[in-house]
Amino acid sequence: MPIVELQQVRKAYDTKVAVDNLSFSIETGSMFGLLGPNGSGKTSSIRMMIGITVPDSGNVLLFGQPFDRKNLRRVGYLPEERGLYKKMPVIDQLVFLGQLHGLSAATANKRALEWCERMEITEAIHKKTEELSKGMQQKIQFISTLLHEPELIIMDEPFSGLDPVNATLLQDTLVELRQQGRSVLFSTHRMDQVEKLCDAICLIDRGKLVLSGGMREIKSRYKANHVQMVFSGDGSFLRHPSVESAKNYNGMAEIKLRDGDDGQALLAAAVGKARITRFEVMEPTLEEIFIETVGDRVDA
């Protein structure tokens, strides 16, 4: 059963259509990536899932049911624009938000302390939020969405503004939660994170669905016709007939092969001319797929 389902959802604001006839569904227990460039309608879609706004037309189902406020206690939501009470000590803040999600003060307190330890911010728990760094605040907000052990975790741009160490900490936590059987949905405009983490994705652009499905399935739709190679010496082999297009960044080349070519002939040609340290035939990255698909639509 899908845990979230959008059926032909449309949402227009004053001057622009934010979401246009969008349909997709998220399977229970999966890690789902909602992708799209800035202003593509990711946040609008998420807000409709949790009833902050209402679609103009179409249906949004949560846990297989039409919107019902009491189901929100099963959801943890991290908004894109972070917000915490500036003057409130961290621990009070976490307990307060936990209580709003139906926890008792004692349980909220206990879990908050455990999470703070795990997120390596124990020393900050009695400080006021305004005294903390942006990254710290983000971790606190992250914890606040998880205190009530939600079945569905929805995070709008969870990794933006974090340094690589903390981003990895959050990523690992999300992976672990997924392993515990929670469903995770996060939005991002960074494709590389999605490739690593997600089971399924949905790619939207200007409010419209561009691509959706399982991660593997999507990538398998695109043939492995890309080569990344690192070499030193003569680069003239890049004009080999197998090559459709190539970019050479000073000894590191990204090559797109002609349809049906497996790259072996190119490798043989290269070996005679240059010293090869790496030669990898690979599927296109999500980014390339994205550019390709969105670009096509623009052309059409």
């Binding site: 604001y13 004053d14 807000r47 949790i50 009833g51 902050i52 706004t53 209402v54 919107f67 406020r69 929100l72 206690r73 959801v75 939501y77 908004p79 624009e81 972070r82 917000g83 915490l84 009470y85 500036k86 003057k87 409130m88 307060f96 938000l97 209580q99 709003l100 999600h101 907000q141 606040s144």
Partner: protein, 414 residues
């Protein structure tokens, strides 16, 4: 309801713990206390304690005047009597004035002719002691009237009782309607509501604007209804104001009930209210406060900055000020049509209904009171409901005004 309580508690604790709250809560009682101590000091000063001499050919008149000036209700002077005086006396007294041993002397010359009055002349030490002059003049007046009455053959005790100030009690059928007390209570209710709404109503609006800029609302709205948030804010921020006012009122009561106050006032203003009046006072004050705070919440939801809010400030107290002008006709006819209509109009109910309950004979029907309370509660809920829609749609619609179909959809959703 639990969520409302959580929001209210958070709001309350955060505000009560600030230094600003502590300072303003303690400062006002200190000023009140200071004011009272000050007026006690001034009060003592204002009862003249001068040392004067009365020179009179009439021994009786001089001693009566001495008694009046030394133990009268307005003065605490020291009075020496010289009777009768001569030119030597005047010389001595002038010297004493020059030496500042004496604040002044009163010279009484005997009456000329049978019906004539004695003549009086007061020589003060400095021209500034106007107060002494007035006090002596009044005391003399009283003494002379008493003397005249005694001359007419009136007994001394009759004279005293005749000179007592007159007190008028107003009695109405069945009960003593102490209308002065009622009016004082209504006045206090009006002043209190006006002050509290101006001082704290705006805090509700401000706190809602603040919530918009802190962006916490999105987390909150993902769990609770906007109405719950609004109600929590109104109650929490409102309770802060009530706490402060309660501290001030208790201090004021402690101060006024103490003997200090009695010393200042001399003749006490006696305010007596029935338990019913006190209960209605509290009920209508709280409901009024909640109603006006809810409007403040709606204003806060509508605007985006404190500056915009300033312009709407007066809007908040205008209905209340309007009620003030309706008070006079309501007092003359507490059961008249105007009074009855206004007392059911929620924005006027607190003042007008309270005034009617205090003054009306026959008493206001219980159903009218019940209806007024129901109407107020319903209005508070409606205002909060509308405010929460404005808020929610306003912050998430990016400036787009909600149209009717959209509002209908909101209805279904929350």
């Amino acid at each position: 309801m639990h969520n409302v309580w959580l929001i209210a508690k958070r709001e309350y604790l955060e505000r009560v713990r600030t230094k600003a709250f502590l300072i303003s809560t303690l400062l006002i009682p200190l000023l009140m206390g200071g004011g009272i101590v000050g007026s006690v000091v001034l009060g003592h000063k204002s009862r003249p304690t001068s040392h004067i001499t009365v020179v009179s050919p009439d021994q009786q008149l001089a001693t009566d005047l001495q008694a009046e000036l030394e133990n009268g209700k307005d003065s605490k002077m020291t009075v020496d009597v010289i009777s009768p005086g001569n030119s030597e006396t005047r010389k001595t007294l002038d010297e004493m004035l020059a030496d500042k041993q004496l604040d002044g002397y009163l010279w009484i010359s005997p009456a000329t002719g049978a019906a004539g009055r004695p003549s009086f002349s007061y020589t003060p030490q400095s021209a500034a002691s106007r107060l002494d002059h007035d006090t002596i003049k009044e005391a003399l007046g009283r003494v002379l009237v008493k003397e005249r009455l005694a001359h007419q053959g009136m007994v001394a005790s009759d004279v005293d009782s005749l000179m007592e100030p007159i007190k008028v009690d107003t009695r109405q059928a069945g009960k003593i309607a102490d209308s002065t007390s009622s009016l004082v209570a209504v006045g206090v209710l009006f002043a209190l509501m006006y002050m509290v709404i101006l001082l704290y109503g705006m805090n509700v609006a401000r706190s809602i604007i603040e919530e918009k800029s802190s962006r916490v609302f999105e987390v909150l709205l993902a769990t609770i209804r906007p109405e719950e948030m609004m109600a929590g804010k109104v109650i929490g921020v409102g309770a802060v104001g009530l706490t402060q006012v309660a501290v001030w009122l208790v201090t004021a009561m402690l101060l006024t009930s103490s003997s200090i106050m009695a010393a200042v006032a001399g003749n006490k203003v006696h305010v007596s209210l029935s338990p019913m009046q006190i209960i209605f006072f509290i009920v209508y004050f709280l409901l009024g406060y909640l109603l006006y705070s809810s409007i403040a919440a709606a204003l806060g939801a509508m605007v985006n900055s404190e500056q915009e809010l300033q312009q709407l400030n007066m809007l908040l107290v205008m209905p209340l000020a309007g009620c003030f002008f309706a008070m006079a006709p309501v007092m003359t006819n507490p059961n008249g049509l105007l009074a009855r209509v206004l007392s059911l109009f929620p924005f006027c109910t607190p003042l007008i209904m309270y005034l009617r309950i205090s003054l009306a004979t026959p008493p206001v029907h219980i159903w009218e009171i019940a209806l007024s309370i129901v109407l107020m509660v319903a209005t508070i809920y409606a205002v909060l409901w509308v405010a929460s829609r404005i808020y929610r749609v306003g912050i998430l619609m990016y400036g787009k005004r909600p149209n009717l179909p959209e509002i209908m959809r909101w209805l279904k959703y929350s």
